[in-house]
């Protein structure tokens, strides 16, 4: 395993990327220093850029993005989910969580009803290292949420999938205590972008730009309308499709870039080589190889059959929204105040 992971084929591109970044920073000169040294500023700028990019993508090519983004970033973001929510948080060392919360989550993963994900979160709340009163409040709130999702049926699952995209942003917000107010800049931008996408103006703009006309054969506007906004009037439904596309891109961006940046102890960004070594340390050599093989397998499948690969990815990922709910419950309950 070491032979593969330390081979020049893996290490040299990382060294080249580091050299390119050093050169780029050298060219930028003093202007780049605050961005490198101040995490608050860097994260605020990167998140704002991400929001603008996701907004442009949602308006210009939403239907392609809905299909391709899970293929490109889906598996890496699942790995990031497991890395930051389970391994880095240390929950993987707690045997009772494995058995009692992991069981219902595994059931969801292999095709069980999504309501079992809420059962996993309730169990996690019971097992959390927090005062009894807070744990009971969490269990009651989760039970109410589960009852609402169960009562809504398919619509409840859909609402949950919309909310889970924004759950990532809540994780980013809560990941580290905030010293300044710079993080409010991307949050304000996010609210403005989401409000714009829900307005008729965004749909009109997307249509004027031809965004909805450019679609893969297997997933046109009608398909996404029925998938993401079934039973709603078409105009409102398409606005929700745009919002989902936007929030899905942000969801991936948050897990793959912002949370890793916030998680580090040092405020300055590490080299690509150091990031790779940290990833190996967290996942282990076998885990890293398995993750890489899954990512490549989904990409190769997409080359052969894009629609089937997309469906396959979502089958694989159906547990992760509730994994985020379980970890979020634990993080909130066990957070030092």
């Amino acid at each position: 395993m070491h032979v593969v992971l330390d081979s020049p084929l893996v290490v040299r591109p990382l060294a080249a990327a580091d050299a390119m970044r050093r050169r780029w920073l050298h060219l930028l000169g003093p202007a780049a220093r605050p961005i490198v040294r101040r995490r608050e500023l860097r994260v605020a700028l990167v998140f704002s850029a991400l929001i603008l990019l996701a907004l442009a993508g949602a308006l210009l090519l939403p239907l392609w993005l809905l299909l391709l983004a899970p293929i490109a970033w889906g598996v890496p973001h699942l790995i990031a989910d497991l890395r930051y929510l389970v391994i880095r948080s240390g929950y993987h060392l707690r045997t009772r969580l494995w058995w009692f919360a992991g069981g219902p989550l595994l059931w969801v993963a292999v095709g069980g009803e999504l309501v079992w994900g809420f059962v996993a979160a309730m169990v996690a709340a019971i097992l959390a290292r927090a005062e009894l009163g807070r744990r009971l409040v969490a269990v009651v709130l989760l039970a109410a949420a589960a009852a609402a999702v169960f009562a809504l049926g398919g619509a409840g699952d859909l609402v949950f999938s919309y909310l889970h995209n924004f759950l990532a942003i809540a994780f980013w917000w809560l990941w580290r205590p905030r010293a300044g107010r710079l993080h409010l800049l991307p949050l304000a931008l996010l609210l403005a972008a989401a409000a714009f996408l829900l307005s008729p103006a965004a749909l009109a703009l997307s249509q004027a730009l031809g965004g909805l006309a450019w679609s893969p054969a297997s997933a046109g506007p009608d398909h996404q309308l029925w998938r993401l906004a079934p039973g709603l009037p078409p105009e409102l439904g398409l606005r929700l499709v745009l919002l989902f596309c936007f929030s899905q891109s942000l969801h991936y961006g948050v897990w793959l870039h912002l949370v890793p940046d916030e998680d580090r102890e040092r405020a300055t960004p590490p080299t690509f080589r150091a990031s790779y070594d940290f990833l190996r340390r967290d996942l282990g050599d076998v885990g890293l190889v398995v993750a890489a093989l899954l990512t490549l397998a989904i990409a190769a499948w997409a080359v052969v059959d894009l629609a089937a690969a997309n469906l396959g990815y979502f089958r694989m990922a159906r547990f992760h929204g509730h994994l985020e709910l379980v970890a979020g419950t634990l993080l909130l309950l066990e957070r030092r105040r």
């Binding site: 292999v110 095709g111 282990g284 050599d285 885990g287 398995v290 089958r315 694989m316």
Partner: protein, 160 residues
């Protein structure tokens, strides 16, 4: 192999099994969606037939609807996009049957007045069930089925 590596391998295998649909149970059709039409309009039953393994639309699947409110069954083939649509339907309890390849899937839906119901199907064209008769029962006076007689039949929701 240490414990962490073992967990990684198990998660990888489960992920592959999930992605390929090996672990899916039953037809797992998307829920039916109802839209209200103008009062006085006749009802409609529409949908799309998909391959549950690939997600692709299935053209030329035979879709049959039956209801005591209809004089006889109505049938049509799904189009190139896998879509089917029955219009001018009276309200009632309908059985929608989809036949394609080895798949024979039934779904019962209640169609209200002045509504358009979309009911999609996710079928496995290669799925084949063998149902073995284990009890002796009378089919009609004088006709009996022997318990050791195996009967092959195409799958239906009732058997999944």
């Amino acid at each position: 192999m240490d414990r962490r590596s073992l967990v990684a391998v198990v998660l990888g295998v489960v992920s592959v099994a999930c992605a390929t649909g090996v672990l899916e149970r039953g037809p797992n059709h998307p829920p039916a969606v109802v839209e209200l039409l103008s009062p006085g309009d006749s009802s409609q039953l529409v949908g799309v037939v998909h391959d549950r393994n690939t997600g692709h639309a299935i053209p030329a699947a035979l879709v049959i609807i039956q209801c005591t409110c209809l004089a006889g069954a109505r049938e049509m083939m799904s189009n190139d996009g896998g879509a089917f649509g029955f219009r001018d339907l009276p309200p009632g309890k309908y059985t929608v049957q989809v036949l394609f390849g080895y798949a024979n899937v039934n779904r019962t839906v209640e169609l209200a007045p002045a509504t358009r119901m979309r009911t999609d199907f996710r079928i496995d064209p290669d799925q084949r069930f063998t149902i073995t008769v284990t009890h002796v029962f009378d089919l009609a006076p004088g006709i009996r089925v022997r318990p050791d007689l195996g009967v092959s039949a195409a799958p239906s929701d009732a058997f999944t």
